[in-house]
Amino acid sequence: MFSYYLELALRSLKRSPGLTLLMVLAIGFGVSASMTTYSVFRAVSGDPIPWKSSQLFVPQIDMWGPDGRSADGEPPNALDYVDAVALMRDHRAKLQSASYRIAPPVQVPGSRRHPISVSGHAVYSEFFPMLDVPFQYGSGWAVDADTNQAAVVVISGKLNQEMFDGKNSVGKTLDIHGKDYQVVGVLAKWDPQPRFYDVVDTGGFDTNSDDVFIPFTRAIAVNLSNAGNTSCNSNPAEPGFVGMQRSTCTWIEYMAELDSAAAVQKYRDYLNGYALAQKNAGRFNWSPNNRLRDVPAFLDSQHVVPSDTKVSLMVALGLLIVCLVNTVGLLLAKFLRRSSEIGVRRALGAPQAAIYAQFLTEAGIVGLAGGVVGLVFTGVGVFSVGLVLPKDIAALAHVNFSLLLLTLVIAVVSAVLAGLYPTFRASRVQPAWQLKSN
């Protein structure tokens, strides 16, 4: 029976090609606009580490007091050196790492090429296991490298390609900021977006890869100053990088792995205790105002998804709705034009269900055709937003199988939904009246 309805539908659609084309294009436009903006939204609102994001927490401590808080009472989104190092020393989470952004010049020792500047992070050894950072060769460094301020480095696969032609470079030496570092690990491709471990410096997205990771303690020891944002509520009292370390200026990101609700509560209590101790010591003269959010909540609090992206998605969904209203009207016209045909079918004994099957099949075919057109438009759309949107966001939007499948499904489902009311009207056609009027 379905194949018969299919044939009927195709014949009917062929009879009024203009109207059919109009419906197909409307659905195609509506679906592809929605899918294009959704591809951007999906890219920027994604969970960068889905299997673990609910166990990774970002602590915030209020070291500035009431005057330094944002309008909604939020403490700074990064830590100062004093607090970050205190939290590392207390070591209350299963795994934890303070980190800050560095941008040192890098060179292969003895090479005649000009040095290049790379972006990277100074981190603790637990950074790598905590974030499940994938390695191509070697591994992260051991805990004693943290304590010994060892001159070791983990490099990205990209830098390994540039410096060592992609060969296993573990054990080789790299000149970073004028000092020799031993390569202990080479990363496999690792480019999480949003850049959840450093939202403070990237705003969430970064077209630069992180190419070097060196021990935090080492970076501090060799005066490798922060290449990311620094925020101060008052000027450091002493000059130099050392003055920065003793100030309440915030420039350090921090992440801790807490595996259970109990562990989270315990860590919260610990942070409160820490802030209270600071108050008692006279460093803070206000009550604790800490935050401890997991990665999704932290990304949300930092407004990582640009509001432009959300507004675009809303507007595109509005476009889809208008296209569907349009399709409802056109299908209504199309179906009711065939009232006499319906009358004949009903008079010959077709039940209302048969009319439903026939016309919803027709709507479904329109939807499918719209979906196919939409696939092409979506491809063009995603390519085009790549040309006009900011590079860090545009680079993330891409077409993949699930997006294509979703395009087709939404096109068919929305066309069938649009066909419901016209079909209802068609099924109510009175056979006797139709036959009589002819």
């Binding site: 005057d67 900021h177 100053s225 000027n235 509001s307 209203v325 009207g329």
Partner: protein, 418 residues
């Protein structure tokens, strides 16, 4: 022509009428807000920076193996390296002037703080004036091409140098007019003292420039977009930036000459693809998101209007086909072609008018929703009114083709069976 028969006929097509009106209402609501967004973005992109942007480019470079500038000897060495670069750049025949600088308007890198009329006030305390800082030497004003409206420019004697991590405040500064007006309303700011970044040592304003935008274009800069303080200072760090004004027509040549010239002075430095950047490129990068959003909204508007117009054509064509016989009867009874044309035009005017009125309410509602959830301003009435007129006009344009076809129905149709 009376509207009574039209209304009577419309009652027979309730669903179709409601659908067209609904489509027009939704289209109006979305298009008004989208065009408002476009208008706002265009306004943002056209904000003036206050500098003379033509022939201007920026050089950013990093030294390798340079001292970190935490001791006096290191600072002196870094400053020598910087002055060596400046002298060489100023010697180029294609270059008009050069100044060391920490950032430029629209560049995504800034140094911000606060000004207070009282000593030792915390930076973020309410009442303080937020400002960005530009550090440069006596050639900064002329290289940027900003206009001095009061007082004097920096002289060689004013210019100091210090390490990036040294927080000593300068004795003299130049501020933009918005800062001068805020700190000293109604009076001249020149010669007055104020305190930078909670310092207890006063700083004197020696000049006021008309306008200079802060670096960064994020919404967080909206509250102090033109609050800039210029300090006569070379910052000594392991990197440096130079703003260069090329002689007219010689910018490309000057930019091309940069890398080899800098490497010749001192090969131990990092230069990459972004190291030499024209101000036009800086501007394009800064506003890419806004231009992209405007284009996106523009495309959505065009598609919406196209779909809605096509929908009106489609549904009206169906009605014309359905009413062939009645049209024939009216023509046979003496109605002129123009009467038939007017009938469909007035019918559309009524539907589109009703839809557009609902659309006005929806547009305002959508705007209120966007204001609540996103950073959006209230939509001016003129946008909604223009949208209303545009949608009604679109309806009239779309209905013209099927209405003309209807007017061409011959009176003989009346005599034919369906």
């Amino acid at each position: 022509m009376t509207t009574h028969p039209i209304l009577a006929a419309l009652r027979k097509h309730k669903a179709g009428v409601v659908l067209i009106a609904l489509q027009i209402a939704l289209t109006l609501a979305i298009v008004c807000n989208a065009i408002f967004i476009i208008g706002q973005r265009i306004e943002r992109v056209h904000r003036v920076t206050g500098i003379d942007e033509s022939n201007l480019f920026l050089v950013t470079q990093q030294w390798v193996g340079a001292p970190d500038g935490d001791d006096a000897a290191g600072v002196a060495k870094l400053d020598n390296m910087q002055r060596e670069d400046l002298a060489a750049l100023r010697n180029l025949p294609d270059v008009a002037s050069v100044a060391p600088i920490n950032s430029l308007p629209l560049l995504n890198s800034s140094w911000n703080g606060a000004i207070s009329l009282k000593p030792g006030s915390e930076m973020r305390k309410g009442g303080n004036t937020r400002t960005t800082f530009y550090f440069g030497d006596e050639q900064m004003l002329s290289t940027l091409g900003v206009r001095l409206v009061a007082g004097r420019a920096f002289t060689v004697a004013d210019v100091q140098h210090r390490s990036m991590h040294d927080q000593t405040e300068p004795t003299v500064v130049i501020v933009t007019k918005p800062i001068a007006d805020k700190l000293f309303p109604g009076g001249s700011a020149v010669g007055k003292a104020m305190y930078l970044d909670g310092s207890t040592v006063p700083t004197t304003i020696i000049g006021v420039i008309e306008r200079l935008q802060v670096p960064g274009t994020g919404s967080w800069t909206n509250t102090f977009a033109y609050n800039a303080t210029l300090e006569p200072l070379r910052i000594d760090a392991n990197y440096s930036r130079y703003v260069v004004r090329a002689k007219p027509g010689r910018m490309e040549a000057a930019m091309k000459a940069m890398p080899s010239l800098l490497y010749k002075i001192n090969p131990m430095r990092v230069l990459d693809d972004d190291s030499v950047k024209s101000f036009a490129d800086i501007r394009a990068a800064a506003y890419r998101a806004d231009v992209g959003m405007a284009i996106l909204m523009g495309v959505v508007c065009l598609v919406l209007l196209g779909v809605t117009a096509a929908g009106i054509v489609g549904l009206t064509s169906f009605w014309v086909g359905q009413r062939h016989r009645q049209i024939g009867v009216r023509r046979a009874l003496g109605a002129r072609k123009i009467d038939i044309l007017h009938y469909f035009q007035i019918e559309n005017l009524m539907i589109a008018g009703a839809g557009a009125l609902i659309g006005v309410a929806l547009a305002v509602g959508l705007n209120a929703w966007l204001m609540k959830h996103f950073e959006m301003d209230r939509i001016p009435v003129v946008y909604v009114l223009v949208g209303l007129v545009a949608l009604v006009a679109l309806g009239q344009a779309a209905v013209f083709v099927p209405a003309r076809r209807a007017s061409n129905v011959s009176p003989i149709e009346a005599t034919r069976a369906v």
